[in-house]
């Protein structure tokens, strides 16, 4: 695979963030070194939950409207990359939870939401694999992509009826973020680096889909 400029930038950014996270960001007093997982966990959740899923939903709506195969490829690529990042969230979550909460898995609202998001992504990809016809695959997955986006807030609401252990996302708090400045800078840069990583992977996956469709003789 040709390594694009975007890819190089994304990888360098991620490496830089981790050098900073490991060597130049203070260790959290209560949680110790385990807290450093935050810099993988939180940006992955940002990409998996908001960026990737948002793009799937938007590309799906646009596909049903414009019927442009490019939009279907964007949605499919975003779903696959989104599945990757959600998997990272689901792996880093328990790794972090074990030393801090004393258990690998809890049916905490945010973890549960992420798990179901993962199921929706997985269902989306399995659905695509079960249809041969290009046009039908695009229509079905667009419908599922849109319904999934509507489902997420409902899962969110229903799991919130359970008590949650999970800290509220520190960045989105309306008051001043409750985190030392160095940590915050590292966290924000990890978001930027992961966003770049997402855009790069999305582009590579999209180009792969173009090649694949060209090889299958499908629409241009």
């Amino acid at each position: 695979m040709k390594f694009s400029k975007l890819g190089a930038v994304a990888v360098i950014a991620v490496i830089a963030v981790y050098i900073r996270a490991i060597y130049f960001t203070p260790i959290e007093a209560l949680q110790g070194a385990a807290q450093k997982i935050l810099y993988v966990h939180a940006p992955s959740a940002w990409v998996g939950l908001y960026l990737a899923f948002g793009l799937v939903a938007i590309a799906s709506v646009l596909y049903l409207w414009l019927k442009d195969p490019k939009l279907d490829r964007v949605a499919a690529s975003s779903a696959e990359v989104g599945l990757l990042f959600s998997t990272v969230v689901l792996i880093t979550g328990p790794l972090w939870a074990k030393p801090v909460w004393g258990t690998f898995w809890t049916w905490d609202a945010r973890l549960t939401l992420m798990l179901f998001l993962w199921f929706i992504y997985a269902g989306y990809i399995i659905l695509r694999g079960a249809i041969d016809d290009f046009e039908m695959r695009a229509r079905y997955s667009a419908v599922l992509g849109i319904l999934g986006a509507i489902l997420v807030p409902f899962i969110h609401l229903s799991v919130y009826f359970f008590r949650t252990l999970h800290p509220m996302p520190v960045l989105l708090k309306p008051s001043a973020p409750s985190m030392p400045r160095e940590m915050l800078v590292t966290l924000v840069s990890s978001f930027v680096a992961f966003t770049l990583l997402y855009v790069w992977l999305l582009r590579e996956r999209y180009l792969l889909a173009v090649d694949h469709d060209a090889a299958m003789g499908a629409h241009s």
Binding site: G123, M136, F154, S158
Partner: protein, 240 residues
């Protein structure tokens, strides 16, 4: 006036109304089910078997049946519902009867809603039998709160059937067919089963109806939004 095709015979017609065609499709599906009884019988057999197995899967001295009952009830509703939903568009498959429906002058939304009404009928029938069965066999006195409980059950049934009918339409035409339906539908059942089971548990432990109002609102919101969205989405699953 249309030309008569058969000499001397014309069967007068006008475009069938939305409600009339919806009900005709629902009636047709119910008639098929009445004849074959495949959905009702398999769903009921499943319900009774699951009820028995669940009872013996737990140690009755450790977990009181009344604590078990809400979970058992909703597991039974979920999976017996899936059994019926799969047949919904499955009955159109063997002879490509779907082509005839699509070639007829009925709106696509009426096809979806007709199927939905029939499915709702099956699910409610299965619930009407398994709810008393659970109450009886698990020794849960439901008399005091039977109306709010029925309300929760009905609200949940609408939500399950709304998304389930749409996914049934999609799943039957894929290579995985019925295997795909639970995979697609179950994540969508979560925001229905979760509040419904919680509300059931609270009602069964004697809490006031006002304490479950939040769950009921959540169920109602799910029903309204997914009924509308799935009705609008169904035509997009069809070849145009």
């Amino acid at each position: 006036m249309q030309p008569s095709v058969l000499p001397g015979v014309l069967h007068p017609r006008r475009a069938p109304g939305f409600v009339a065609s919806t009900l005709a499709i629902a009636r047709k599906d119910m008639l098929i089910e009445l004849r074959s009884r495949s959905v009702i019988l398999s769903a009921l057999a499943f319900a009774v078997l699951a009820l028995t197995i669940f009872f013996f899967a737990w140690d009755p001295t450790a977990v009181a049946p009344i604590d078990l009952a809400p979970g058992v009830l909703w597991v039974i509703f979920t999976f017996s519902g899936l059994l019926g939903l799969h047949r919904s568009f499955g009955v159109e498959q063997p002879t490509h009867a779907m082509d005839a429906l699509l070639a007829a002058p009925v709106s696509r939304e009426a096809i979806y809603l007709g199927k939905l009404i029939a499915n709702l009928g099956f699910v409610i029938l299965v619930q009407a039998i398994s709810l008393p069965a659970v109450a009886l066999l698990y020794n849960v006195p439901v008399g005091a709160y039977v109306l709010p409980l029925i309300g929760v059950v009905l609200l949940a049934a609408v939500g399950l059937v709304a998304v389930g009918t749409l996914f049934s339409a999609m799943a039957v035409t894929t290579r995985l067919a019925e295997l795909l339906l639970p995979l697609l539908a179950l994540p969508f059942f979560v925001p229905v089963i979760l509040p419904a089971a919680q509300a059931t548990a609270r009602l069964m432990s004697g809490r006031a109806v006002s304490e479950v109002a939040g769950y009921i609102e959540l169920l109602a919101a799910f029903d309204i939004i997914f009924l509308v969205v799935c009705t609008l989405a169904y035509p997009f699953t069809l070849e145009q």
